[in-house]
Amino acid sequence: MDFELDEEQQALREAARGLLRKRYADFETRRGTVADAPGFDRDTWSRMAEMGLLGLPFAEDDGGMGAGPVEVAVVAEEVGRVIAPEPFLTSVVLAGGLVAAVGTAEQRADLLGGLASGASLVALAHAEPGARWTATATGVSAEQGDGGWRLTGVKEPVPQGAEADVLVVSAALPDGGTGLFTVVADGDGVTRSGYRAPDGSRAARITLDGAPATPLGEAGQDQATAIAAAYDAARVAAAQQAVGAMQVALETTAGYLNSREQFGVPLKRFQALTFRAADLYVAVELARSLALWAAMVHADPDTSATERATAAARAWAQASKAGRLVGQEAIQLHGGIGMTAEYSVGSYTAHLTTLDHLLGDARHHLGLLAATVGDHAEVDPLG
């Protein structure tokens, strides 16, 4: 049993931290970056590509680094620490992960190669108005005609939908089931309307009107299982990303309690405040424990899809709860300054809120866990 990163993983962490800190150590730089399209820094994205971060989880044959969930989590934590707006989680882990899972060899080389090199941005268009956190699609339907497949319907919200070059779109198949397709993002029959998510990242409504589409992987296959698995992998990475964000929000808050004076004394002299900060530390450490564990479960080739799904639900349920507590308290303990856009903690809270609703909140995941609570006596993380 070992919870420590090995030397290569530590080197990866230092490299990712160095790169992201260099860009975002000054919070004002992040503000400026998310203010303008495309909402992230293309130069930083290229440097991430050069460092291998954008191809991290993909096979070397597909242009990637062949790393696993633990390495992805290591990078995600660094992304979270500076709330870097680059779409590592949504494009690389989520959209890229799905392409890696179901794409043909040719599609993988093409799409993942482009993603890993930073040449093209891939987005997953799966969420639909009126549905939440399911693995199936009903709002977009796929039809096969003489000229091939065409998609019709609305996808929203699509992270990086307006900025992406390629869309991976889920759609109801004519014979039932949920298929996956690639669509050229600025192609015929595609209308994109982009906006800012709460944390300054970008999302979009995408309207498809008979848009030409290419089946991802084998045509006509139900891919709901693969979609669910890709979201689970994203939840594990997001849990670590949230831990990184919570850690810094907590450190920032502790720093503020140490320095800010009210009534002639530093805020840390008020026990009511320091006790609340201590509770935040407890929440972050517990979330970190489950996030690390879930990454290890996902990294273990012997675990089943069910075990990986449960691990993702456990990790994200904890991160979701902790994220709300830490985010809300970080603002409250700062007082009015925490409400301002130019100070960081409010943006950390907005980021945690965005992640929470992208991937399913604690209530949703605890509901899933509750459904099987009678099937086992105890939960034993050591097996």
Partner: protein
């Protein structure tokens, strides 16, 4: 990173599991399983069973019966005991005074006290807290004054757990009133049969008799019973309290009760189905299970990283959150008992309700203590804020 135990540790765990489930008296384990109260004989007999197998004091120095286990193995030992419903070795002996004597005691004291302490031939009590000195322990006033080679002790201790069964009591006494309060304290070992020692029961809200007041009136204590130097007692107290905090989060026992709670919920009719079918109950259980798992993994992180002897900074989390979850599970159980919670600790002769329901309220009320003892949870928050967050 790797989650699995090594093959050796896995075998170690399996061996302990077999021992605890086959060698420890089934009646004792059933009492723990039913959350009943153990008798003195049951506590002593179990401790001796463990000691005979070398499993009572594994954390002591090897020459006095210790095992030199890794922190992980100590963790597994503790967890497996709880999982098997085996009451852990008497803490006053194994975790508190034993290590203090082994570290600070004279050679004569070690030879005289350690073997009977390891075997509970002496049943120790703890005499630290006083009516005016709880979390602020250094404010204690019980005084010891020199009389030749002896000490004459006067004062009052309180919250003396199981003091009615104690043979000896280890105490902190004020030996110098004229210096900074921490600097004037000494540790004395006192035979509770000495004239002038009086134990008075304190009745608690759970209806049981678990704690006592201990009064000292001109109690004569031989000078050889002083542990360490005069006025050095605060050092020994900090050492002991540090040990007390380790392992104070009973994750294994809480997990076991939660597993039982599911059985109890599934056996209780509610509406058209059982309590376990109630989505509110199921979600509450799922959430507690997840929180406990996060805590267990945190405990494993702490033991995996404390090999160099330094406590992991997250260890205060274990006491704080461990007791909160222990209390939360007891609250769940009293809620599952519902109207059965009114059969407040009744015996089978008076009630047809299942024993878990009859014990639910006393246990729930009793466990309110968990966030108070062993360094109250407010003290733990203070430690986290001060030593980790720098506040």
């Amino acid at each position: 990173m790797r989650l699995q135990l090594s093959e050796e540790d896995e075998a170690f765990r399996a061996e302990l599991r077999t021992f605890f489930t086959t060698e420890v008296d089934e009646g004792v384990r059933a009492t723990v399983r039913d959350r009943g109260e153990l008798t003195k004989d049951q506590i002593v007999a179990t401790h001796r069973t463990l000691n005979a197998a070398g499993l009572a004091v594994p954390h002591w120095p090897v020459e006095w019966g210790g095992k030199d286990w890794s922190p992980l193995r100590r963790h597994l030992w503790h967890e497996e005991m709880q999982r098997a419903c085996v009451p852990p070795p008497l803490a006053f002996n194994a975790s508190m005074i034993g290590p203090v004597i082994a570290t600070f005691g004279s050679q004569e004291q070690k030879e005289r006290f350690l073997p009977p302490t390891a075997n509970v031939d002496i049943f120790w009590s703890q005499g630290f807290s006083e009516p005016g000195a709880g979390s602020d322990l250094a404010s204690l006033r019980t005084a010891a004054v020199r009389d030749g080679d002896d000490w004459i002790v006067n004062g009052q201790k309180t919250w003396t757990t199981l003091g009615q069964w104690g043979d000896w009591i280890f105490t902190l006494v004020r030996t110098n009133p004229d210096v900074k309060k921490q600097a004037g304290i000494s540790m004395l070992l006192i035979d509770m049969r000495t004239p002038g020692v009086e134990v008075r029961p304190i009745e608690l809200i759970d209806g049981g008799h678990e704690v006592n007041e201990v009064w000292f009136t001109d109690v004569r204590v031989p000078g050889e019973n002083l542990v360490g130097e005069v006025d050095s007692g605060w050092t020994q107290a900090k050492f002991l309290l540090g040990n007390e905090r380790v392992g104070v989060a009973p994750v294994g026992a809480t997990k076991r009760v939660l597993a039982q709670a599911k059985e109890w919920a599934a056996a209780t009719r509610s509406g058209e189905g059982t309590l376990l079918d109630d989505p509110h109950v199921a979600v509450r259980i799922a959430e507690l299970e997840n929180e406990l798992m996060a805590l267990e993994l945190t405990a494993l992180r702490v033991v995996a990283n404390s090999a160099d002897g330094k406590p992991h900074p997250a260890s205060s989390v274990l006491k704080l959150r461990g007791t909160e979850l222990q209390q939360a599970v007891s609250e769940l159980v009293v809620d599952l008992a519902g109207p059965g919670a009114l059969a407040f600790g009744t015996s089978e002769a008076d009630s047809d309700l299942p024993v878990w329901a009859r014990r639910s309220t006393p246990t729930y009320l009793n466990l309110r203590k968990a966030s108070i003892y062993g360094g109250s949870n407010e003290v733990q928050r203070q430690i986290i804020a001060g030593t980790i967050l720098g506040l």
